[in-house]
Symmetry: C3
Subunit: 170 residues, 3 copies
């Protein structure tokens, strides 16, 4: 279990429908932003020092700090997006994310934990479609009056075999 999951014992379920609606809209906007190809907006979903990691379930459950992709802070995320547009050569493709209902818990006022199942279908330039990734998002979200932001987002993939070139954030 990771540090994030170990804290679950101290958490209480969220029952405030307004908090849930704000967080669900936020999680939905995130996937729409990526699915619509507006990747330069991606770092804005995080706090300035937010953490983002794509990992797999084996490494996540063993608590290994190994990520397929990892960013500490918005600056690093912006660099990554810039590099992606400047340097990467890849076949254009699209993602379609679908999310399950997030399980929401409160750590402290304005600080929430979310676990959300996801499936991503990828569509290639030639029209071919395939399951690209499934798994769960494990998030810590700050929601203190202003718009929600990720303090910590772990993308925990079910499969240990992932397309080596993860171009877009998931």
């Amino acid at each position: 279990m990771s540090a994030v999951e170990n804290m679950e014992d101290n958490l209480v379920d969220v029952t405030d429908p307004s908090v849930r609606a704000q967080i669900e809209d936020f999680l939905t906007d995130y996937v729409h932003t990526i699915d619509d190809g507006r990747v330069p907006e991606w770092p804005e979903f995080f706090t300035p020092d937010g953490f983002y990691q794509i990992t797999n379930r084996d490494n996540y459950e063993a608590g290994r700090p190994i990520g397929i992709m990892q960013c500490q802070g918005q600056g690093m995320m912006k660099d990554r997006v810039k590099a992606m547009y400047e340097a990467n050569v890849f076949e254009p493709h699209l993602y379609c994310h679908l999310l399950g209902r997030p399980r929401l818990q409160e750590e402290a006022p304005g600080l929430y934990h979310a676990r959300t199942n996801f499936q991503i279908i990828r569509t290639m330039q030639n029209g071919g479609q395939s399951i690209f990734a499934t798994g769960k998002y494990i998030d810590v979200i700050a929601l203190d009056g202003a718009a929600p932001k990720f303090k910590d987002r772990r993308v925990v993939l079910d499969s240990r075999r992932v397309d080596i070139l993860i171009v877009y954030p998931l």
Copy 2:
């Protein structure tokens, strides 16, 4: 961007939970109706002059008025359903739709815009299953006291390569 998406600047987010619940039930009933094979009920989800179009993302974003399937008004939809049962010869199959959370915005009291990701898995008579389509619904929904109805539903497919025989509405 299509006319529908260009209007988004004039829209305000829906925060009324009762409006959201009614619209989400409506969107859910629509997919259940098709997945359960009750296609003759499909035109009832639209206003009398409602517009329905299946298109792909390239054409939608370029604003091209080209549809893979297009119906203007309930009458045309009913004709289409009738033709489908009378004339089409096709291998029986089933759809299973899954929807993301809709992003909801209000254009005017009783008039809402929704954008909803979807994935459709098709099951053939022999039991084989495959990804049939992914994409987003871009909807304009009338909800004026009575049951919600689509004024405009665009099915925007991620893939430009679609099974030539779209038998059922999506």
Copy 3:
């Protein structure tokens, strides 16, 4: 139509957001429990005399009492879980469930009916991923002050061709 579906005429739509939230959390916890491999907790989602059946759409709609897997009561479910761990030899794999919005109706105070679309993606040990099953859950749920429990859960698969070895509950 099965007995469960035939009763729908006597049901009224659920509009209480708190009832919906409790049931949606319950349905979400169920799939997270299986997806996370905590199968021994599975019987706890049912009432002591709860009924669980995996069937396919043809048999369900014809009202045939034939199940691919069937359990009457928590005791039988616990035996099944025990047997699964003791006896079965199978390649490790993971499920990722995604649920649609449940359509909720009330039969009597504290007794609800739910119909929920689902898709399950399976990930094998070698990382390969495929559509494992799609269909709908048809549920009768008791919610009488305490935590919700299934009185009756039918897993109605779209496909008549199912991997003969359904190891985990769905």
